[in-house]
Symmetry: C2
Subunit: 220 residues, 2 copies
DNA sequence: GTTTATTTTTAGGTAAATCTAAAAATTATT
DNA sequence: AATAATTTTTAGATTTACCTAAAAATAAAC
């Protein structure tokens, strides 16, 4: 059984592992909003518990056991986010902090029943996939909106940025999950993208386009 | 903002306050499953924070501020218990430990929305009243089943014992909240009580009868 | 009203998770 | 390859919530 803090470390290491195999001390410290010295201490503890493989100065990788623990927390986090949005009418930009606490409630029964209550959702309010109780993810095929060509279209199925500011901005633009979009034009000057959504033409910055994930219908 | 531990202390002091005005160190230690020395440490901290009034060797009483904090936790605990039973199909004997964790989630928004989602329940699965967001309890008029006379009847509206063993036993006897009962006889020999419930005569021990709360219809 | 028992507090210490400041290892730059 | 910059680790403290053992205060019994 892990402490809250250990669980938070495991989850962060898990997410950082998607970018680089060996996760660095400083990267963890930044995410945990703590100091590198503290991270080194915790890494040693996690290594002792067999949750990470650790070679001094070389960063860490999750062991199978550590990965399972991490995925379990991700599962809980995302299921709670679904609960907050679909049952308690939270907005998608309001759920993260609360889920950050709820994910640590320890009861296998609770999370299985919650999963059932929610109808076994496959993704959370930000489009992120929810692993099943065995830790398996449904395969997802996303492409960044920025990578689409003029004439390409698809459905908004996720975001790769979870800040409240970004999510509120998308909402104002009408760019929420499930919306159909099509690329009308790409501006040479600033890389901004002209898209057709709900029969309206809107312009979004390159920065915004980078963080919208599309399940593509291919060319049109 | 209080820590989990501080919150647990406040809640326990609150419950013990219902029996005696000045709550003793040893009583707190027993409930917290810790040692009296640890309790003294924590009491000092709570006194420093203005949550309890403390006179050495004389026990503690909650200040207005401490009482509010305690009632707030009781509110969360009971609302979560309702959620677990009414939405996730937990049994009334399975909810306590999980609610013990959930009650510490810090989000005013969350608990107000949960309250609304549950339809502003007035009592929890054990019949205990749920304070509103201002900390006010609806008045309740309970009488212990053991105190009823032959011929008296009423509705089961609460229990004063929350152990899983007791609750499972009640369930097996068909003595759940809302059931109508009437006293048929009281045995001189062992003080056990003969009652009529759902058209059946059953016998319950004095010990069981002590912990069932009835809203009485008076004599019959 | 002493003596005894109980309750409560103090003294001193441990473990978890953090910190700052300084040392060591690794990586990048000339 | 030597020097500089960056990253990471150690050393030594701090805070929170505990503990045990011993001392002090209060309550109960004789
Ligand atoms: Mn968390
Ligand atoms: Mn999410
Ligand atoms: Mn609790
Ligand atoms: Mn209850």
């Amino acid at each position: 059984m892990q402490s809250f803090t250990e669980e938070n470390y495991l989850k962060i290491i898990y997410h950082l592992s998607e970018k680089t195999a060996n996760v660095q001390t400083n990267a963890i410290a930044e995410q945990m909003q703590t100091k590198p010295a503290s991270v080194t201490d915790m890494i040693k503890k996690l290594a002792d518990k067999g949750l990470v493989d650790y070679v001094k100065y070389q960063g860490v990788t999750l062991t199978e056991k550590g990965k399972q623990a991490a995925v379990d927390i991700v599962r809980k986090h995302r299921l709670w986010e679904v609960f907050l949005v679909s049952k308690l009418n939270f907005k998608w930009d309001e759920v993260h902090d609360v889920a950050e606490e709820l994910e640590h409630i320890k009861s296998v029964d609770l999370i299985e029943r919650l999963d059932e209550f929610l109808g076994f959702p496959k993704s959370d309010p930000h489009g992120d996939p929810i692993p099943d109780k065995n830790g398996r993810f449904a395969k997802t095929q996303f492409i960044k909106l920025i990578e689409l060509k003029i004439g390409d279209g698809g459905t908004i199925t996720g975001v790769s940025q979870h800040s409240s500011a970004f999510l509120k901005h998308l909402e104002k633009l009408g760019l929420t999950l499930g919306k159909q979009i099509q690329i009308s034009d790409v501006t040479d000057f600033d890389g901004s993208v002209e898209i057709l959504v709900a029969n309206k033409q809107i312009n979004i910055s390159r920065e915004v386009a980078k963080h919208i994930l599309i399940s593509s219908n291919g060319k049109n």
